[in-house]
Structures are given as structure tokens and as C-alpha cells.
């Protein structure tokens, strides 16, 4: 293991620390309800996890990029094995009691392997994509990355964990983009999903289908691929009502409620409505730290996990929200810089993949609290209570610190560009 000193990307560390401390203080506040529940004590656990995470980040940052590169396939293999195992021994928890996303030994829940899987799959994707000399030009060339993401994605969707599944798709697309895959091809890859979404309206789907045909004719992929894409889109467009039937009732409900939360204001729509009320009633400056009435009086559900950002909105107002979003913006822009300056394509892709993973979390989570996104039960990095996710986020920070240190300008400090 290398022992020589390396420059530390202090802005990255500072932003991550601020976000974590901000998050833990909100986890504390989330426990401060009028009728105390078990949530009241969780901030301590979160603090312990935070300390462990810092240590883990430091440990990970000691691994050179070369070492990570070398470790990628064994770790990826272990991840797949773990996810497979979970399907048999996984346990549910909290709001997702029926899913199998938790690893437990003797009834004691250790963690959610899918959080760590998000990192190992990013590594594997980076490894596969970095082998391309030229950016892939056809769908056929994408079979390897598709497989690398597809297997763990399928295993996670089987748990089921829709939120993490979306994250996988999100960072996979982002990494294809970062690898230089052209826009038209990205659109073609994404087209079946778009067909799926637009299928509820024949007119919209028809318009999209014509656009797709035009794109295929202009981009001119291999003939079989073109036909394949068109057929897939037709299938998705025509058969999505059948797929709809395949969804679990709660999933259907979530999507319907997203379109109109008031169709079921007391049940499925309840979370969204209460979250919006909490955020909206915060105003410019909020009701004061720990003083949010929506949260105190238990109107706000999952106030320490999925809807923790509603607590920020209610208690610290638009000011607190702006601060949090600014910190995330600083983190993301910093990581983009890290990815730009990375020494090789593998580390650059890893950096960008980790960024994309966080980004999808943040956008989906915050969007859901405002009903801009459907509810998928996805945590907010550094904020939501949860040990595995905190640990995973800081492991990612550790990897990024290493990449930053080894990157161009690293020797002169990360500020010199």
C-alpha cells in the first residue's frame, strides 16, 4: 500500500463535511417530535456511522487508482453474489417492509448492500467503458456495459427497490455520455423508456414514434438495430398497458398520485401533500430549527429518511433549502472538475459515475418532496438517516480524493488549473 503523502482536495472534503454535519443536525431535528418515537435517538447512531464513514473514506483514499482498477472485477463479482444471496435471505425494513434489500444476520440488520453496489457497478462500468478506443457508435457495441449494469439492476429490481434501479439507469446513461457516446445514440438507447412513458396517450406516443423514425433515418444505425429499435418501441408503446398491469398496486398508485396527489389525499397522496405543506409553510426563513409543526405533530411521514428535506424546508425555510442546494452544487461542480482532470479514462469515468449517482439521488429525492417527481423511496445523500448510504457516500468521497490527488494538477494542488 502506498504510504507517500498526497495532496488532499480540501474543497471536496469541506463540502462533504458541511453536507454531513448539516444532514446529521437535521436527523437530530427530525427526532424532535411532540410525542417522541425511536427516531429521537437516531442522530447518535448517524453520528457514529459518520465517524466510521470518515475512517472508511480515509482508508479507501489510501488505495491507488491502479489498485481500484485491479480490484474492480473481484469486488463486482462479490457484489453480484451478495445481491443474489439477498434474494433469498434479504429482509425488509421500515416503509419498505416487504422488500428484500437488507442484509441481516441473526435478525440484526447490517446494511443495504445495494448502496455499496452503486459504487462497485460504477467501477465496473468505468472499467468496461475505458477499454473503448473510440466511443461506441452502435447498440451492438454497448452489449458489455449493458450487461455490467443490467445484471445488478435486474437483481435490485427483483428485491424490489425501484429507487436504486432508477439510480443505476441514471448513472449508466451519464457514464455513456461521459465516455463520448453521441447524443443521437443516447436518445435511441433511451427511446423504449420514453415509449413506455408516453404510451398512455396515443397522440403523444405517435408524435414520439415519428420523431424516432426520423432519428433512425438520420443517424442510420445498422439496419437490424434500426428495425430492432422500432419494434421495441412499438412493443413498449402498445404493450405498456399490460406492463402497467404487471406493476404492484402500490407502484401504480404512486405513479397515479404523482400525476394528481389529491386522488387519494389520505393514503398514497398523503406523503406528498404533507411534504408540500411542510415545505411551503416554511416560507423564507422557516419555523425555526426543531420547531417545524408538520414534523413535530407527525403529519410529515418518513421525516428522517425519504422526506428529510421537507424538514429542512419547514424549519429553515427557503434560506436553508438554498444553502443545501448550493452545497450540493459545489460538490457536483467540484467532482466534475475532478473527472475532467483525472489522469486516465477509468478514473475520470469513476468520478463522473459517482457524481451522477449522487445527482440522481438529489434530484429525485428533492423533486419528490415537491411532487415534481414520483415517490420512489430514495434517500438524500448525506442527509437521510441510514448507515450504509452514509458509508457508501464517504467511500465515494475517499475514491474521489484519490482520483483528485492523482489527477493532473494534483501535484500542485487541485486549485491550479
Amino acid at each position: 500500500m502506498p504510504t507517500r503523502r498526497f495532496p488532499i482536495d480540501w474543497p471536496l472534503v469541506a463540502v462533504a463535511l458541511l453536507l454531513s454535519l448539516y444532514g446529521i443536525s437535521i436527523v437530530y431535528s427530525a427526532g424532535q417530535t411532540d410525542i417522541l418515537t425511536g427516531v429521537a435517538k437516531l442522530w447518535r447512531a448517524q453520528l457514529i456511522w459518520f465517524c466510521l464513514s470518515i475512517a472508511a473514506a480515509y482508508g479507501v483514499s489510501r488505495f491507488s487508482v491502479r489498485m481500484l482498477d485491479w480490484l474492480t472485477w473481484p469486488v463486482y463479482g462479490a457484489t453480484i453474489a451478495m445481491l443474489l444471496l439477498l434474494l433469498f435471505i434479504g429482509k425488509g425494513a421500515g416503509t419498505a417492509a416487504s422488500s428484500k434489500s437488507w442484509l441481516a444476520i441473526g435478525g440484526f440488520r447490517i446494511g443495504q448492500p445495494s448502496e455499496l453496489a452503486k459504487i462497485t457497478v460504477v467501477l465496473a462500468m468505468a472499467k468496461v467503458l475505458s477499454t473503448f478506443k473510440e466511443p461506441p457508435r452502435s447498440l451492438l457495441e454497448l452489449w458489455k456495459p449493458a450487461l455490467v449494469v443490467g445484471i445488478p439492476w435486474a437483481l435490485i429490481m427483483k428485491q424490489p427497490d425501484l429507487g436504486s434501479g432508477i439510480v443505476f439507469i441514471g448513472f449508466a446513461f451519464a457514464m455513456l455520455f461521459w465516455a463520448g457516446v453521441s447524443w443521437p445514440l443516447l436518445v435511441l438507447v433511451a427511446s423504449p423508456v420514453v415509449s413506455l412513458i408516453l404510451a398512455y396517450n396515443t397522440f403523444y406516443w405517435g408524435a414520439w414514434f415519428l420523431l424516432l423514425i426520423a432519428l433512425v433515418l438520420w443517424y442510420k444505425p445498422y439496419m437490424y438495430e434500426g428495425i430492432f429499435l422500432v419494434v421495441i418501441n412499438v412493443i413498449f408503446g402498445v404493450f405498456s398497458p399490460m406492463l402497467w398491469e404487471k406493476l404492484a398496486p402500490y407502484q401504480q398508485k404512486r405513479l397515479l398520485v404523482f400525476l394528481n396527489p389529491n386522488i387519494d389525499p389520505r393514503l398514497s397522496g398523503y406523503h406528498v401533500i404533507q411534504s408540500q405543506i411542510a415545505i411551503g409553510s416554511g416560507g423564507w426563513f422557516g419555523k425555526g430549527y426543531t420547531m417545524g409543526t408538520q414534523k413535530r405533530l407527525a403529519f410529515l411521514p418518513a421525516q428522517h429518511t425519504d422526506f428529510i428535506f421537507a424538514v429542512v424546508g419547514e424549519e429553515l425555510g427557503f434560506l436553508g433549502v438554498t444553502l443545501a442546494i448550493t452545497l450540493f452544487a459545489l460538490l457536483f461542480l467540484r467532482v466534475i472538475k475532478v473527472a475532467e482532470r483525472a489522469n486516465d479514462s477509468f478514473s475520470s469515468l469513476v468520478a463522473f459515475g459517482l457524481l451522477a449517482s449522487w445527482f440522481v439521488h438529489v434530484v429525485e429525492n428533492m423533486g419528490m418532496t415537491l411532487n415534481l417527481m414520483p415517490i420512489t423511496g430514495i434517500p438524500l445523500p448525506f442527509f437521510s438517516y441510514g448507515g450504509s448510504f452514509m458509508l457508501a457516500s464517504w467511500i465515494a468521497i475517499g475514491i474521489l480524493l484519490r482520483i483528485s490527488a492523482e489527477g493532473r494538477g494534483g501535484r500542485n494542488g487541485p486549485f491550479a488549473v
Partner: protein
């Protein structure tokens, strides 16, 4: 991948722009919710957590003329539940049945209350016993949203003695809520149902207060918050009445359990009602917080009809007590003078055309002047006086005195008496050719198409006892306007009073004289239409006043199926004695 620095920087710029753009979009979303729509969500968050607990106002206390309490408020408890949805309410009620007994009827009633006012706590038990309250307090933590409030409870210290005029309060009914006059009432509130409670409802009810409490998502009251100023309930103002509670209780006592009928006592100088009683009575206290079906049925099935107010709603043929109206009309029209004799002497009856009209006394009264005829209540004299007046004049005179109208007491139950407005009444009832002037014979002695309330007769006699003026009988303290009812000069009024004194001293009510006080009055015995063993039961009347020269009390007593008027006279005499604090000269032994 294409890892040329230029490409990477280009993509980095695109990525930065996407990141910044999406985050700005999110920030915009928060801005819209938190700044632009802040008021809407702020309101929603308040309605989410603030609940108005109504604080019932104590009703105004009702006092008698000597500031004795007729209707009071004592501490009671009401049990209600805060629920968001009907299902939640039902679930809570279902669980409550495990702790206290709730009938399916109570549950359905509660649900209906909830539907009417879902934002208010739904009243489950309007008047909970202390046992129920203590059991619930013990298990309070199991029932989020359960509210146990102390609520002022109406109490009538003299229960059955005062029910005839006080009435009672009860929960506002669904039928009432449907009326526009009940627009500001909410399900579960109390409202006057009868008597003074109903008459002066708007005054007595006071103003409901509110306590704003903070509830959590499970509708548990978290704190009695200071988020919004509580509104203290305003008690209804006291109601002072003309009732003499001691006299009222005396009247109730004298009727006891066996007699049925009614009595009204009025101060003739003011029209103030001193006592008003209908026997048998009921206990208004048992109606508070919902009357039990058992008690209500027992009242409803009682053949003596306790729920039927015999002083206000009962109309009875006034019998001989009405002869004074014939007298007054005769004197007013100059048809007769107090000293006049009628051409035909009483021989126990009078032949008119083909019909023979009996006097109540088979042996006959012989020749009598008007004064004597009043004292002896001679029917034959009044048949002839009636014929002399003619039906038109008699009916018009009766209308002028007010026998076709309500007395106008400030109680909602009073019914209109039955009296023809004019002779057209007979045309309609019997057909134009279907009746003869002989109708006047029965009218003149207070029979026929004439049914009066006890109250209306008391009002008439309060005019006779004074200067011919009478006020609307009034229970609420005040000085109602006295209106001329009998149009006679003072000397003739005096003659009438003397004649009525004669009734008591030497006439039909001789047994009811009072030592040291001149009592004046008239007995009456009217057919009831009810037969027992082939013999018709009569209603016994007495209406009179004392002291005769300047009366301070008028009493009208009617005993249903109570035989002769002498019996009523004896009761009236006792009432007057009680009011004037004098002792009788004769030990009363009353028989038929």
C-alpha cells in the same frame, strides 16, 4: 473512450450546465412553494394542526320574582372524539365499546353528528356520568382524539314542579338543523325544547367559546396551544321572571299525584304569571343529555298525558265560568242590569220551542236578579239573557273580549282557544239553514262551540277583577301593556266583583271562603264527553281572584274529569291562601 482533454472539457461544461440548470430548476420549485405559495401552505399547516374545541356557554340562570333559582347550571361532562374521517370515527367508537357501553343507536347518532360538522369534535355522550368519565380518563392514552370536557348541565332544582313553564333543553335535532332559523347551530349543541327554555332560547343560550388546541397527525391533542387566542364562552344573561316559586311548588303539591288538570295564577295588576302548572307533570331534569326511551315511553303512554300542557294546550268548555262573559256583554250592551230579573222564573229548566233546556239544579232557583243568578249560577236566567242578547251580539262581545285569541303568554306552547269569530262560523259548520238562534242558549252558559284554555280564562278574570283591563300574561319580568277588555264603568265593574264575592259567600263555592280575605270567583262544570259507567265525567272549573276589592291574584283552576267546580274552587282557595298567607275559615272537605 475519447479521452482527449478538449473533449473532456467540452463534456464537463455540458455536465456543469446540466447540473446547474437542474438544481436551479429545483430551487425554483422550492421558491414557488415556499415564497410564492407560502400563504396557502401556511394556512394548510395551521388547519392541519389547529382544532377548535367548542366550549359550551352556561345558559342564563332563571330566577323567580324573589330571586329563587328555577333553572341552574351544574357541572356535567361531555365526551367527544376528534376524527378526520367517518371510518376513523367508527373505528374509535368500535374500540370505545370495549371500555364503555355504547349502543348501536348512539354510534349511528354520533356518525350523523360527524357528517353534519366534521371539523368539530363529534359528541359521543352529551352528558356522561362520572363513572363513564373516570373509566375513560383511565384509558385515555388508548383513544387518540378523545375529548372529555366539563360542560355546564342544566338543572332544575324543583324538577317536576316547574316543568310546565320552564320546559327543558335537549340536543338540537336534525329536523331543527334543517331549518334556516337554526343556521348558527351545530350538531351536538343544546337548545331549548319547550317552555321558557325555548321561548327565550336566543337570550339564554349565551355565546359558545372556543379553545384552539394543537393536534398531531393521529388527532391527539398535543397541547392547548397559544397559537390562537382562546375565546371564552359568554354565559347567557339571567332571566328574571314573575313566577313565585313557593306558590308554584305549592300548586304542584296540591295537585299531588292523583289530580289531573291545570292551574294558572296571575297578578291582575301587571299580568305577571305567578304560577302555571299542568298536572301530572314530568321531570325536566330527565330530559337533559337525552331522555331515556323508558322514561319517555312512560310519559307518552300515561293516559293522564303528562307531556300535554293542560294550562296552555288544553282547551275545555269553560262552562259557567264563562257566564261572566255573558254578564259583561249584557251590561256593556245595556241589555241587562245587575238588579234585573228575567221574565220566567227558574223551575229547573226552560222550554224553548220544542226543546226543553235544563238548569243544573232540578228543583229550580225561582226568581233571581242577575247578582243572584251569578251566585247560584242559574242556567235558566242565562238562557233568557242569551236570547235577549242574540247570538250575533254574544259572539261579537266574546270576540271583543278576546275569547277567539290566544292570551299571548310568552310561552311557545299556548294554543288558540276555540270560539266563533262571527255567526258565519255557524253557517260554515252547520250550513246556512242548519242552525237556529237557540244555539245562543248553550253559548250563554259557556257550552257549545267554545273551548278555552285555563290561561285565557285567567286573563279574562284579571280584567273582571280590575278596571276591565288585562295584560298579556307574562312570565318574564316586565310591565306588559294592559289593554281594555271589558268596557264597563267602574261602578258596574264593582257590581260584578260583588256578585262574584256572592258566589263564594253564599253561592256555589261557599265552602271555599277565606277568613279575613274576600275571595271572588266563579265555578264551572263542563261536560268532558267521557263516560264512566254510563255517567259523564265533568271538568270542574274555578276562576277567581282575591282580595275582591283590589285583587292581587287571579287563579284559574281546572280539574280534568274532576267533577263539580266546587272541587276546583277548593283548590283555588288554597292557592290564594298560600299566596296571601292567610288561613281558611272552613276545613275543606271537598266532594264532587
Amino acid at each position: 473512450m475519447s479521452f482527449h482533454p478538449n473533449d473532456i472539457v467540452k463534456r464537463g461544461r455540458v455536465a456543469s450546465m446540466i447540473v446547474a440548470g437542474v438544481l436551479l430548476f429545483l430551487l425554483g420549485g422550492f421558491f414557488r412553494s415556499q415564497v410564492l405559495n407560502h400563504q396557502k401552505y401556511d394556512l394548510q399547516s395551521k388547519t392541519n394542526r389547529l382544532r377548535e374545541l367548542p366550549l359550551p356557554a352556561p345558559r342564563g340562570v332563571i330566577f323567580d320574582r324573589n330571586n329563587k333559582v328555577i333553572a341552574d347550571n351544574v357541572i356535567g361532562y361531555s365526551v367527544s372524539v376528534l376524527a378526520m374521517k367517518e371510518d376513523t370515527l367508527r373505528a374509535v367508537l368500535q374500540r370505545l365499546t370495549g371500555t364503555i357501553s355504547l349502543t348501536p343507536g348512539q354510534i349511528e347518532k354520533s356518525v350523523r353528528r360527524f357528517r353534519r360538522a366534521p371539523t368539530r369534535p363529534t359528541v359521543i355522550i352529551p352528558d356522561a356520568s362520572f363513572d363513564v368519565v373516570s373509566v375513560l380518563e383511565e384509558h385515555r392514552s388508548q383513544f387518540p382524539g378523545l375529548i372529555i370536557q366539563s360542560a355546564p348541565r342544566r338543572f332544575y332544582p324543583d324538577g317536576p314542579a316547574v316543568a310546565s313553564f320552564v320546559g327543558y333543553v335537549g340536543e338540537v335535532s336534525e329536523a331543527e338543523l334543517a331549518q334556516s332559523s337554526f343556521a348558527d347551530y351545530k350538531a351536538g349543541q343544546q337548545v331549548g325544547k319547550q317552555g321558557l327554555e325555548k321561548q327565550y332560547e336566543s337570550l339564554l343560550r349565551g355565546k359558545e367559546g372556543f379553545q384552539f388546541v394543537e393536534v398531531d397527525a393521529r388527532q391527539r391533542i398535543v397541547r392547548n396551544s397559544g397559537a390562537q387566542q382562546d375565546q371564552i364562552p359568554e354565559a347567557g344573561p339571567d332571566l328574571h321572571t314573575n313566577i313565585d316559586l313557593d306558590l308554584q311548588k305549592f300548586v304542584a303539591g296540591i295537585f299531588g299525584d292523583s289530580l289531573q288538570g291545570g292551574a294558572v295564577a296571575i297578578d291582575p295588576q301587571t299580568g305577571g304569571v305567578l304560577a302555571l302548572y299542568s298536572a301530572p307533570s314530568f321531570d325536566g331534569n330527565r330530559f337533559i343529555g337525552g331522555v331515556s326511551a323508558q322514561y319517555y315511553d312512560s310519559l307518552n303512554n300515561d293516559p293522564r298525558r303528562p307531556l300535554y300542557n293542560k294550562a296552555l294546550q288544553g282547551t275545555y268548555p269553560p262552562g259557567s265560568t264563562w257566564k261572566l262573559a255573558t254578564v259583561a256583554i249584557g251590561l256593556e250592551t245595556g241589555a241587562v242590569k245587575m238588579t234585573d230579573r228575567m221574565p220566567i222564573a227558574c223551575t229547573g229548566g226552560l222550554q224553548v220551542g220544542s226543546r226543553y233546556f235544563r238548569c243544573w239544579k232540578k228543583e229550580g232557583h225561582g226568581y233571581l236578579d242577575l247578582k243572584g243568578a251569578i251566585a247560584k249560577s242559574c242556567d235558566v236566567y242565562f238562557y233568557q239573557l242569551g236570547m235577549r242578547l242574540g247570538i250575533a251580539r254574544l259572539v261579537a262581545g266574546g270576540v271583543a273580549i278576546g275569547f277567539d285569541k290566544k292570551a299571548g303568554i310568552d310561552l311557545p306552547e299556548e294554543l288558540k282557544p276555540r270560539f266563533p269569530k262571527s255567526t258565519e262560523y255557524f253557517d260554515i259548520k252547520y250550513g246556512k239553514k242548519g242552525w237556529t238562534s237557540s244555539l245562543v242558549l248553550s253559548m250563554a252558559i259557556g257550552q257549545g262551540d267554545n273551548s278555552q284554555t285555563i290561561l285565557n280564562m285567567a286573563k279574562f278574570y284579571s280584567a273582571l277583577g280590575t278596571d276591565g283591563k288585562a295584560a298579556k300574561p307574562q312570565i318574564k319580568k316586565g310591565t306588559p301593556e294592559r289593554v281594555q277588555v271589558v268596557q264597563l264603568p267602574a261602578d258596574q265593574m264593582e257590581q260584578i266583583r260583588q256578585a262574584l264575592v256572592g258566589v263564594v259567600n253564599v253561592g256555589t263555592a261557599a265552602a271555599s271562603a277565606i277568613k279575613g280575605v274576600q275571595l271572588a270567583g266563579k265555578t264551572g262544570t263542563a261536560q268532558s264527553g267521557k263516560f264512566v259507567n254510563g255517567k259523564e265525567l265533568n271538568h270542574g272549573w274555578f276562576v277567581g281572584f282575591a282580595p275582591a276589592d283590589k285583587p292581587s291574584i287571579v287563579v284559574a283552576v281546572m280539574i280534568e274529569f274532576g267533577g263539580h267546580g266546587t272541587r276546583a274552587a277548593a283548590i283555588a282557595s288554597k292557592i290564594i291562601q298560600a299566596y296571601l298567607h292567610v288561613v281558611p275559615i272552613v276545613d275543606l272537605s271537598v266532594d264532587g
